[in-house]
Amino acid sequence: MYESEAKLAEPNATMRSGVGNVRATVPREHRQTVGNTRVDNPRIRCNKLNVYYGDTHAIHDINLDVGNNEILALIGPSGCGKTTFLRCMNRMNDTIPGCRVEGEIIVDKQNVNSPEVDVVPLRARMGMVFQKPNPFPKSIYENVAFGPRIHGLTANKAELDEVVETSLVKAGLWDEVKERLDQPGTGLSGGQQQRLCIARAIAVQPEVILMDEPCSALDPIATAVIENLMVELRQNFTICIVTHSMQQAARVSNRTAFFHLGDLIEVGETNELFIRPGHQLTEDYITGRFG
């Protein structure tokens, strides 16, 4: 994952020199997390999660719970490890050569971060939506039907049709595409493509949807549509979203976790964290003093 420093500094370009100062003064040893990392009856519980890319220690000793039917926002400056953390939960880091994940990720009393666990059913339970819309170069119908087909979720064409329709309805795309399901998914607009990807993810009826900056490639109107969608999806799914937009985190999430240089600095109820941040770094970040 790469974002330019300039893009990050964009909201407050004059603060760029400040970024260097903040980073220089941060001690490199592990920092204690402010706030309560645990929730009752979590959907996912991470214990002492560490990720290494070769020799680089990307995230350090993260303890964090994701509750049922909540939207957890992961925020923090680039390179802070939030996407890495997100990708641990469905073991997508397995596909990156040289990446090593240590620690426990407990889902339904089972540590899914152990080599014995098969990633195929795990990933079916944890749908993922990526930063850039990545519909397959197939028809809209085939894009949504992809997951149900490979997991054999439907017995016949009629059932598949129904899954495709309900998924597209849930993703708020049905009315726009119901007349042209046989057209290529790549022909849709950016926002529609991203909703198609969300429909594709929810077609396999996951428990959790992991979203990696799902709106960063979209304009404000498409972003608003997707944010509304997330709030609706919350009723059926648990959502974990990485975002660079503090406003987005504040608008949609229940809880927010702030990462910095591989450490989880602070976790809390979103309202609480944005109004009364418990850590100086969190306050500096959300008030735009660096980032």
Partner: protein
């Protein structure tokens, strides 16, 4: 001649420095005052110094021989000229031999006199050429040097020359192609005057031996090309049956499964297959594979010709593997990682991802690569010449000997030929059809590849 070129080079490099110095001093040492950098001014002078002289030199060298020949012939005694053009050519040959001192025996007086004349003309020409090469660059260089001043647009002029040079290079390639096509086309038209085009395209019998004498036997002269094209297609089909699965699967393995180290070793090794000379494949097919297939067939009680379509096709398939695998590997790698992530993210396994996402996404590119390989298979000559045989059988049995278009072109044109008989002209007609077919395949392939490229942009 080499020394003249070296002298020109020397003059040009001197001209470069002089021109640069001149530009410097014209600007009074202030480079910003100049329209073009001093280097461009130097190049401008150097080009003026070298190029015209070089062109004159080349023109002189290519025309010198013909002009001297004409002058010598014109000075020959009238009775020789009256004996006709062939006699004149003979005498001219003799004269040239005398001049170069490679004659045996005693030439007659007229020839000796003419040889002396020839020698004189030659030395005059030589002296003039040297003079020209010394004077022309100096004059042209001085002309260019005088034009240098701070506002002179030397850069534009130099870049104009470079553009011209690039244009010339590209037109040479295009014009050569046009020339080949036209020559093949006209010869084919001559062929179609003696053999109707319908008979050529749809006739089922190929037997290009035409009778030289009235009473010659066994020379029917049938020009039906269907058996040749059937043979070509049969061998190309066998080759593709070998190359497409092996090439495609190795490409998938290399791009999706193999670790970096294996890939770094295996890919170049696979591409070495494309570097093996086709003649080596040819004798491998003829001397190793064909006997092996015949013996193996014999064990099974099959009657296999010693030059079978199967042997040629198999070896050709091996040869084409790198085309398919390399092109497929490229397009598979071009499928964005986001597609793979999307598929893995839903819980697809690696093979499901390959089958359902990567191959469909890369398919147009793969098809393009396969079509390029097909046109390569159809045009391939050496393997089939050595391994496929000459008998124009119209058969679909890969164990029989067949012949291909390219093999027939080779056999029609190798050796002493009369270039106006339908037999030799048939080669041009075959070449024309082959050209059209491969061109057509290439156009389709390029069209598909281009269409594919638009998908992710």
């Amino acid at each position: 001649m080499l020394s003249l070129v070296l002298v020109l080079l020397l003059f040009s490099s001197i001209a470069y420095y002089v021109g640069r110095r001149r530009a410097f001093s014209a600007a009074g040492g202030q480079i910003r005052q100049l329209h073009s950098l001093p280097g461009y001014n130097g190049l401008y002078v150097a080009l003026w110094c070298g190029l015209p002289a070089l062109l004159v030199l080349l023109a002189w060298l290519s025309l010198e021989g013909a002009i001297i020949d004409n002058l010598v012939v014109a000075a020959l005694p009238r009775d020789i000229i009256e004996q006709g053009a062939e006699r004149v050519t003979l005498v001219l040959n003799e004269i040239q031999n005398v001049v170069s001192g490679t004659i045996y025996g005693e030439p007659d007086a007229t020839v000796l006199a003419a040889a002396e004349h020839y020698r004189q003309l030659k030395s005059i020409s030589h002296g003039a050429l040297i003079g020209l090469t010394l004077v022309l660059p100096l004059a042209a260089g001085a002309y260019a040097l005088r034009k240098i001043n701070p506002r002179f647009e030397a850069r534009n002029a130099v870049e104009g020359v470079i553009t011209g040079l690039l244009l010339t290079s590209s037109t040479i390639a295009v014009l050569t192609t046009v020339g080949i096509v036209l020559s093949v086309l006209f010869e084919s038209l001559r062929f179609f005057q003696s053999v109707p085009i319908t008979e050529f395209l749809f006739g089922l019998e190929w037997s290009p031996q035409t009778a030289i004498r009235e009473d010659q036997v066994g020379s029917s002269g049938a020009f039906g090309a269907v058996p040749l094209f059937a043979g070509t297609m049969l061998i190309a089909l066998i080759a593709m049956l070998v190359a497409v699965p092996i090439g495609l699967m190795s490409a998938i393995y290399l791009s999706e499964y193999a670790n970096v180290r294996f890939r770094a070793v295996a890919k170049p090794l696979l591409e070495i297959l494309a570097g093996v000379p086709t003649v080596v494949y040819g004798f491998f097919a003829a001397l190793t594979v064909a006997p092996f297939i015949r013996d193996a067939g014999g064990l099974l009680g099959l009657d296999v010709a010693s030059e079978s379509a199967l042997a040629a096709g198999l070896v050709m398939g091996i040869m084409i593997i790198p085309f398919v695998s390399s092109l497929s590997d490229d397009v598979i790698n071009a499928v964005p990682q986001a597609m793979r992530d999307g598929s893995y993210g839903i819980g697809a396994t690696r093979s499901e991802t390959i089958k359902r996402v990567i191959i469909p996404a890369a398919l147009p590119g793969i098809v393009g690569g396969i079509l390029l390989a097909v046109s390569r298979a159809i045009g391939e000559t050496m393997i089939v010449v050595m391994a496929a045989g000459l008998a124009a059988n119209l058969t679909a049995n890969p164990l029989e000997a067949v012949t291909t278009v390219t093999v027939q072109i080779v056999t029609l044109l190798v050796g002493d030929q009369e270039f106006d008989s339908p037999k030799t002209l048939a080669a041009f007609a075959l070449g024309l059809v082959l050209f059209v077919v491969t061109l057509f395949l290439n156009v389709i392939a390029l069209y598909i590849v281009r269409k594919y490229r638009e998908q992710y942009e």
